[in-house]
């Protein structure tokens, strides 16, 4: 079957022989952000929804684990930090996947494949997602300080 003898067939160019560019990055980021949202994001969402449905105590326990524990338990100090890292990651994944998905809608029409246009819009997606994530968390921090 998978023989070691060299075959005369041309090899498919693989990752290490490509020069990395924004169009490659935006492609793999689309998959990474989508799968992150599909697994981590969806489970967080279901946990949040289930905790609301289960009642005030269950919801308080969820918030204490993910965001802030007024009692300040030792384990929760760790999970609060992890929770915020995960939430920032999910925010980035949301914007990255949204902007990249909108780019795919344009590509579906057959537009935007020219080298310069492709590179430009790939860069816009990546930079836009980082800026939107930063803006969102600045807003959250501002609201937290004010209220």
């Amino acid at each position: 079957m998978a023989g070691k003898e060299p075959s005369g067939r041309p090899l498919s160019p693989h990752l290490q022989v490509y020069k990395w560019g924004p169009h490659m990055a935006v492609s793999i980021f689309h998959r990474v952000s989508g799968d992150g949202l599909a697994i981590v994001g969806a489970l967080m969402f279901l946990g949040w929804l289930g905790a609301i449905a289960a009642g005030p105590e269950a919801y308080a326990a969820f918030v204490a684990c993910v965001w802030h524990d007024p009692a300040g338990g030792g384990v929760h100090q760790v999970t609060n930090i992890l929770g915020k890292i995960v939430l920032v990651g999910l925010t980035w994944a949301f914007f990255q996947h949204l902007f990249s998905g909108l780019r795919h809608f344009v590509l579906d029409t057959g537009a935007g494949y020219e080298l310069k246009a492709n590179k430009l819009w790939s860069t816009v997606v990546i930079v836009g997602a980082i800026l939107a994530t930063a803006a969102t968390w600045l807003y959250i921090a501002k609201e937290a300080l004010n209220g």
Binding site: I39, A42, L43, I52, Y59, V63, H68, I140
Partner: protein, 134 residues
Amino acid sequence: MGNGTPLGRVRGLGASHHGTGHWLQQRLTALGNVLLVTWFVVSLLRLPLGDHAALMQWASKPMVAFALILLVVSVFWHLRLGLQVLIEDYVHGEATRLLSIVLLNFYAFGGAAYGIFAIVRIALAPAALGPGGM
């Protein structure tokens, strides 16, 4: 089109054996997600997330509960398609791939059912129906 067998061309399903169905469903649910998830993220930013009673009041509004159920359907449909492609690309061997697809379907359908059930529980909770309940 053009170099397939006559039967293949009549069926129009191509090398994947299910034509453009997957692609089209992915795009349609993507459009749904653009609207519904953007609405949801904006709502999260505006809601007092530490206040359980306020969240119950918000999520039990008929239009909100309705939109949340649509969101669960659109998101879990879309993520099932996306994770299916991930499995098809990276999981090799027929048995492990089949097992992975089965687990994916348990996750997608189970998760969607859990989410919709939670929304219904919130919307029909006695506290959400006002004095006297139902």
